[in-house]
């Protein structure tokens, strides 16, 4: 039997449970937050910001990402323009090592502490592992920045290789709640993703694991994703908002509303009070400048600076100026060790 929870009840409960006692919201409570009205949004965001400040502090972690291998992916993630199964304009291309190092240097110059190398693959083959090994070594020799990676599903041997390379953090998103995942991807399972996440956690690398919202999922399925991420306890959760890509199965979906996106940010913060919650793709389209500010004052404490993998981000100078205006210092590299 489901108990009817009012907006006032859930906000009061969240204040006492999450802010005062540090206990994350559970599935039913996350759902109740997602169902709150626009009239309560300001109060919800303020509470999520208080939680972020109490358990994470004012610092913001800044990261740059780059695509080492773009396009031609055999998987069919319905949101992704890099799948080789759709008629997307994105063509396959590899980044060379000197350009990879240059990108890392320019990312570090913004004050970023993390640089993530991404490849559009199901999982890495030996060629990709070798390219990554060479690239990570070149970056570590030239740039003072943590190197992260996101190269798909892994075997235990590959996890061990990444640890040996010095990969600081590994990204592998759940993408969607388990019940909605088959509507998003059919070429692999949610459980395969979960298994890779568990291997990464056990290896000592930090786990970065999040997902996308606005893909046609119900609020129940959105709450399910947050609850499953909370169960996984990753070090970081990147939160993406669907940016409908031409030629993909989700290409005709409307971007989610800014208020829904902000409610989602607050709900994820209340489900994950001690986790880094990062703005990832789609925020420019979904939230714009004003919404970006509201999210940083509503639970977000990390950003991706500059461009994404196949689309463009805000001018990083605007993001850095906004952080300064909000008195949110960039987390220094030595604080992330």
């Amino acid at each position: 039997m489901t108990t009817q929870v009012t907006d006032h009840d859930i906000l009061a409960t969240a204040r006492e449970q999450v802010l005062e006692r540090g206990e994350p919201l559970r599935y039913e409570q996350i759902l109740a937050v997602l169902q709150t009205s626009d009239a309560d949004l300001e109060g919800l965001l303020a509470l999520a910001h208080e939680v972020r400040m109490r358990y994470q502090g004012p610092e913001v972690e800044v990261e740059g990402i780059v695509s080492l291998k773009t396009g031609g992916c055999p998987e069919d993630c319905h949101f992704c323009s890099q799948s080789g199964q759709f008629t997307s304009p994105v063509r396959s291309v590899w980044l060379n090592i000197p350009e990879l190092v240059r990108a890392a240097k320019q990312t570090a110059a913004t004050g970023a502490s993390e640089f993530c190398i991404v490849a559009a693959v199901r999982g890495p083959d030996e060629r990709l592992m070798e390219q990554l090994r060479e690239g990570v070594a070149a970056i570590r020799a030239a740039v003072d920045i943590h190197v992260a990676a996101s190269i798909g599903m892994l075997t235990q041997e590959q996890v061990d290789d990444l640890v040996d390379m010095g990969i600081h953090r590994y990204n592998h998103n759940l993408e969607a709640g388990r019940s909605y995942f088959p509507h998003v991807v059919t070429t692999h399972t949610w459980d395969e993703r979960w298994d890779t996440c568990l291997m990464v956690k056990a290896s000592g690398m930090e786990l970065c694991c999040g997902g996308l919202v606005g893909m046609g999922e119900t609020l129940e399925q959105r709450a399910e994703l947050a609850a499953q991420l909370a169960e996984l306890e990753p070090h970081e959760v990147p939160l993406n908002f669907l940016n409908p890509r031409p030629g993909t199965p989700f290409g005709d979906l409307e971007p989610m509303s800014a208020n829904d996106a902000l409610r989602t940010i607050a709900a994820f913060r209340l489900a994950l009070p001690r986790t880094i919650l990062r703005y990832a793709g789609g925020r420019e389209l979904t939230l714009g400048d004003l919404g970006t500010r509201d999210g940083l004052l509503g639970g977000i404490n990390a950003v991706i600076v500059g461009n994404y993998l196949t689309t463009l981000g805000r001018d990083p100078r605007e993001d850095l100026a906004l952080l300064q205006e909000l008195n949110m210092p960039i987390k220094a590299l030595n604080e992330t060790l």
Binding site: G64, V66, T70, P89, R91, V93, T107, G306, N307, L312
Partner: protein, 78 residues
């Protein structure tokens, strides 16, 4: 082909017969939305020949290359 010898008039980003965003003919239909979309996306099609280009996005910019007409680069910050 020596791409450095490509004329600016026929560069893949120069005004041409094809839209750099959707690949449609610039002489047909409106491309105002394409222009808006380009604020958040790199060029995907060569404006001279409509070929899909190889595009590499990096944090600080992007490069798009047409096999026939060379490359166009855009820097977000330096």
């Amino acid at each position: 082909m020596d791409l450095s010898a490509v004329s600016l008039d026929t560069a893949p980003g120069a005004p041409g017969a094809w839209c750099g965003h959707c690949g449609g003919p610039t002489s047909e239909g409106q491309h105002d939305s394409c222009v808006r979309m380009r604020e958040l996306e790199p060029q995907r099609y060569c404006t001279q020949c409509r070929r899909r280009m190889k595009v590499q996005v990096v944090p600080q910019g992007w490069t798009a290359t047409c096999i026939a007409h060379g490359s166009v680069e855009h820097s977000t910050w330096t």
